[in-house]
Amino acid sequence: MSERIDVSIESKQPALPTDGKRHPNTCPRCDSHYRDDELQAALWVCAHCGHHFQMPARARVDHVADDGSWMEEAAEVRSDDPLGFFDLRPYAERLVEAELDTGLGEAIVVGQCAIGGHGCELAIMDFKFMGGSMGSAVGEKFSRACDSAVERGVPLVSVSASGGARMQEGILSLMQLPKTVAAVEDLRDAGSPFISVMTHPTTAGVLASFATLGDVTLAEPGALMLFAGPRVVQQTTREKLPDDFGLSESNLRLGHVDAVVARAELPFVLTRLLGLFANGA
């Protein structure tokens, strides 16, 4: 561990915000700066202070799924542009750009895998793809993941990272809330366990749908979990927000999640839980 700290100090750049924004590889908590390969090797966790950076969906699959067990599903599903939405730029253009940036077809990746030898279905979101926002394609892929789990009689594990519903699809995005909730209800009726892992951030439409419906709900340290963002709450209420407002740790204290689990521990915690559920069947 101390080795990693040295490396980080060596490569610690002032990372001066030229446009008011931090470099994505600079830790927002302690200012340590990392090269891409350093972050990747550390699972996107700051070696100095333990801050959890956002993790790409594919890297998350590699991290939690047993080697060679992953088989992606519904990879062909893409978003459409039902409203011909145009804000400062066309939605269609934003979609293409997001795919080029992330190498993902949508903000969620779903598929079959094994975790610690337990067969399961995995649904992992990626915040880099349009803020992990949920439109029709995300809803459809999540819904298919539920069906796949039901068909094979295995548990579903989801890892959420999302700012909420995707505005560019208007009311259809809102309909992805009851759509994913209905899929989880079908999963429940079929008796498949559902473990929901919330990562930074899991807010608004995703928090208000499938993410909070896990049989067991886990959260990564420091993840923001709010229905309304802190800025909206601040503006609406003009209240002083508690320091840990909406973070995993306060959500644990308030009874909204079952455990806060550090990223490195996640595969082991999932393995234990899946083992416990398997034993009851």
Binding site: S136, I171, L172, V181, T212, F227
Partner: protein, 310 residues
Amino acid sequence: MAREAELRLRERLGKLRSMRLLGGTGLQGELERLERQLELMQAEPTAEEIWRSVKLARHEDRPYTLDYVGRLFEDFFELHGDRAQGDDAAIVAGLGRFGGRTAVVLGHQKGRDLKERTARNFGMAYPEGYRKAMRAMELADRHRFPVITLVDTPGAYPGVVAEEHGQGGAIAASQAAMLRLTVPTVACIIGEGGSGGAIAIAAADRVLMQENSIYSVISPEGCAAILWRDASQARKAAEAFKPDAAHCLELGVIDAIVPEPEGGAHTDPDEAARFLGEELREALEELEGIPGDELRRRRRARFRSLGVYA
């Protein structure tokens, strides 16, 4: 799905028209209402008309849930509290007789004057409100009462205590509760169908929208602030995400549009209530006799089919 609704409507219109030849005078109003509905279905609202709906949906004289309950339900008995934390006045729930039969009715309630508006938090519910709604829905399920929900909220309340009490989880749980019911459910958007706060009580077998109501994933102002970085661009945002009834019908999000009196529901609340009552009655009639587990299966399938993707 809009096409299906149109076919159903045309069929009923056809029947009524032939009955008119037989000289039924009571059918005249019914015929006008259905013809108006068909007109609304075929309309392609302009940006101007969309914005007019936004303004009418928020009109301070617009009838609210209790205005309709008073006109459409007999012997209404209000239920209070979520049995855990408190009673949220932004959502009202109760038992009443609709068309002679006991039903559970619940909906968002805004206030008429400043004092009531504050007490009802402008129709923005806390998790307590959604938990009260769930309680009422589950009661309906136990006693085989149909559930009618009236939706009219700018959104769920974004406050510190609301978050600490689990706003996101309560909205999810309320949808889940609704998608588990085995009794007929009808929802109608009667003003603002504001995002998660609205869908929490709108996961119904039949979803209706009044002619001048709006249903959206975010408020026009919120959308403008995020995408245009300027809340005053609300009109442009509304034009882009199309929260009006005709577009919601076209996208299959709702099943029918409930006509309003010329000029909006507030110009003649009695007439507005009559139209709403007719549509609710019809929707419930369509659902009558369908076994509970089949209702639930179809309801879930309905929502699981929503979305457009490639």
